[in-house]
Symmetry: C2
Subunit: 554 residues, 2 copies
């Protein structure tokens, strides 16, 4: 027996319906340059979204076609988030930081029919176009300048295109399983893999993020979206702000840490989200600034990509800012877990509370998780048993787009995350490592992430990464690469610091104190590159490449 | 092109999965008698839910079959909320306050195969059974006593039944459109109409209620569920508390206003929901109590069924309690609107803020609304244009169960609520009246609800209702029935009070100051009964029936 309920689909266009009626006078603000902002209302936004949808239909974009974007975080990019899927097409956000060859691979693999790009990206798109992107039938340039002199053709100004659109365009009623968006993984190994999000998945994820015990995304928030909009729909934050009617602020083109600080003060930002490194860079900017900054409005700073250190959590408390975290991935639209403090645990010691806040949190509603041993057995939630995390939800990918690697990762109705972790009795997940980054030493596992977090907590350490290097006796041993905040930092300091926290055999054999650690295009430590440097030329390979300032190899 | 997302259905059993893993140690508490409570954990609850599901399967309850409940608000009743739909059957909550003939109609119309009832309801069920309920194959009695001596057969003790069940029972994976629950409207005219809720509708409604700018239902809440669990799934509050892991408190059997006050103090209740009359009765109890009550924990009191008066909002502020409201109906699972204050309006004068809080609020996410004129035109959201409210959402009924009246109410993909209202430019709905309760006077409309709210705001008035009575000259004219809080209240007081607020022709021609106003089984003013009394014997008919204390008919 079926329920007798309306068969209303879950569509992104219905989130827009809500906002243009209830929150039409609330604002979307984009940082242009020091002291200058673009600001308009959700009512204006909605009209331009409708114009864009109808203009794309006029341009011949058919339902299901992919329209790529290569752009910074700003109001026009957000218009494409709603305007492209509004008519039934798919918004494919492309990572701006990739090499032309990688962008070419992604555009060709997705079969993008139109590319909507920022004006400062034109020279790069020209390189990509020269490599060959045969599916692309048109280019659209977002910006305020006239069209550039370019071989890209046909090419349109975004503003001209939507000026021809219809601000009363009525969005079609789609099946909720219709593809709305697409994003490729950052792919630390192999070619990027494409994930295709349905309207249903995105609406459900939005609803979860708007709940209590998550981001605190209420109508009264003023939210700064720092996470790149090319990365998993900007962590789905813009959609959540839209549905809730929160004021949404974008940092615009090529923002610096100083810009973020300025924006928080100018706009009285109450919440923001970005990679852990954003929180660190803003701290460093403030420390080195001669100015006093009033950031007292900032209540929530969601730092992701890796676990924020206790040091960074404590530092931000001076402004009354609570650093929160979660865990997610491109395959999960993106959120899997979010960290909030269960009331039964809220009376713990400060040590306990920080330890809890450094966990990746509990699964969000609709998300099921389990950890599996190497031999396929489900492990207990005892906070110790470690295995690969498997997840299942209506917003988890069932397959990669046209990719044979689907069968490696999606099996038996679960997505195998490739992350190793444990789950405590209250359901808090701790991600210990990527399966491929675990260090297998003498038949035991060493978590590179645990070592990294411990090293990052040293007062003289800015950041640290740990990789496995081959070892004849133990199979693998850890090597630590550390960026110092203080030139007096020595290997002995680090050894002593770790010795208090870990068994002897966990302590890395080797430490490199370096100027910088290479990062991937989404800001994660590029361990793949470090391992490649080591396998080519051993420790020297890394040293030569990383402008070593102090070599303290044991 | 479809998204490549897992086809995970939205099921009530998945809310339980979440809670038993993340919030297993949180509590469900039921008031037994003064100073005494039953308390157990969500882990215990989940095991008993699984036992119940498997026991019902053993008893021969097949997927899609309706299992009726006639019970108070307590932990066992909540177990049936999850346990019956867990196996694919449908929990049909039956209004305890109906006459045996009405219960018989509902049980036969739904075709209930099993009835699960409280032990104190047995004498009433015996009467219903004598009238004939042929579909019922078994009775199950919830309570702590031995089985009563009864002709009802076969009959089982609930505790014996679930003792035979399997606490590790695995819930089947159902289609999310599967019926989960059923409820009949309270039907102020004609026979009750059946609404059948799908798992999808209930999960989506639960997600909406858990969001910010609604009830404030976070994990840390201690929530008292006063709204009857036989009425639209207890306003869906128990499901929301379950998903969020909030502590859930039930008032148990035959609770009084004094019991509610006692429970709030004992359990440090942070939020509660009930009919407007509950807030009034609790206030009256406290006023007449010689004891000091500490109700400072109570932050949120959601009063529904009608608009709470400003007087009751102000009264509860002494405890720091915010009285909130919404608007919904059996056909909407139930919530349509919820009232929260948009930040752009938060700086208004106290007058403005109270006026805003007395509106029924903005539509919740996924809910679309519009107001329609008599001749089928959509009216503007100007805060003045009044018409019938039409609604559309994934949790709105598409039909009544086996009922030809479907075609009157569900047309063109919209549910026609039968409520007349207007919508302001921020999307706040004001319900002015039931279409059938509007007073048509001289070609104009008079809102009985506006008059009632104004009368209820008079310091000497406890409650008031206004009905239309036939008038030769004007077609209809308003008649007010008022319960006084102070014996000095006179008609002249009321006339003067209304004259400041309404045009002259809105003022009722006649006022009756009475001891009581008849209510429906869900606590609304029974205007149908008042109109019937009037049509039989005019004003005298009402007077004779209502034990008039002071007759001030003009």
């Amino acid at each position: 027996m079926d329920g007798l309920m309306m068969d209303q689909p879950l569509l992104l266009s219905d989130l827009l319906w809500r906002t243009e009626r209830l929150f039409h006078d609330k604002k979307i603000v984009t940082y242009l340059e020091a002291g200058s902002y673009h600001s308009y209302t959700y009512a204006d936004f909605a009209k331009r979204v409708r114009r864009l949808s109808s203009a794309l239909v006029k341009l011949g974009v058919r339902p299901g076609e992919r329209v790529g974007t290569i752009a910074w975080n700003h109001y026009r990019h957000f218009e494409t988030y709603l305007g492209i899927p509004g008519s039934g097409a798919v918004v494919h956000t492309i990572n701006m930081r990739l090499f032309p060859e990688q962008q070419q691979y992604i555009i060709n693999h997705a079969g993008d029919s139109v590319l909507i790009v920022d004006e400062d990206q034109i020279p790069l798109i020209e390189q990509v176009a020269e490599l060959g992107i045969p599916s692309v039938r048109a280019f659209v340039v977002m910006g305020d300048k006239p069209l550039p002199d370019t071989a890209l053709a046909p090419i349109y100004r975004y503003e001209d295109l939507i000026a021809d659109g219809d601000e009363d365009y009525e969005f079609p009623v789609l099946d909720e399983r219709t593809a709305a968006a697409m994003c490729y993984t950052s792919a630390t190994t192999g070619e990027p893999k494409g994930v295709v999000y349905s309207h249903r998945a995105m609406v459900l994820q939005t609803m979860c993020l708007a709940m209590h015990d998550k981001l605190n995304m209420s109508e009264s928030q003023v939210w700064l979206e720092v996470s790149p909009m090319f990365h998993v729909n900007g962590w789905n934050i813009p959609h959540t702000a839209l549905m809730q009617g929160a004021t949404l602020v974008f940092p615009g083109v090529r923002p610096t840490a100083g810009d973020y600080v300025q924006i928080v003060q100018d706009q009285k930002i109450t919440g923001m989200n970005g990679a852990v490194t954003i929180g660190t860079m803003m701290r460093d900017f403030i420390r080195s600034s001669s100015q006093e900054w009033d950031l007292s409005s900032l209540k929530t700073m969601w730092l992701g990509g890796q676990a924020p250190s206790r040091a960074i959590m404590e530092w931000w408390e001076r402004y009354g800012t609570c650093v929160v975290q979660g865990y997610g991935s491109t395959e999960n639209t993106p959120q899997v877990c979010f960290s909030s403090i269960k009331s039964t645990l809220a009376n713990g010691s400060p040590e306990d509370i920080y330890a809890l806040r450094q966990k990746q949190g509990q699964p969000i509603p609709l998300m099921k998780i389990k950890i599996m041993s190497d031999n396929g057995l489900e492990l207990p939630w005892d906070g110790r048993s470690a295995g690969e995390l498997w997840v299942q939800s209506p917003f988890t990918a069932s397959a990669y787009y046209n990719d044979v690697r689907t069968k490696e990762h999606m099996q038996d109705g679960w997505f195998h995350t490739g992350d190793v972790g444990c789950i405590d009795p209250d359901g808090y997940v701790v991600i210990m490592d990527r399966v491929k980054d675990l260090i297998k030493s003498g038949g035991e596992w060493i978590s590179s992430i645990d070592l990294e977090n411990a090293l990052a907590a040293h007062p003289k350490v800015r950041e640290a990464t740990v990789i496995a290097i081959p070892d004849e006796k133990w199979l693998e041993r850890p090597l630590a690469c550390v960026v110092a905040d203080d030139k007096s930092l020595s290997e002995a300091d680090l050894r002593a610091f770790l010795a208090e926290r870990f068994a002897k055999w966990w302590i890395p054999d080797s430490f490199l104190i370096v100027d910088t650690i290479p990062k991937t295009s989404v800001g994660k430590f590029n361990k793949k590159e470090l391992r490649a440097l080591y396998s080519e030329n051993g420790m020297r390979g890394i040293e030569q490449h990383l402008e070593i300032v102090q070599d303290t190899v044991a």
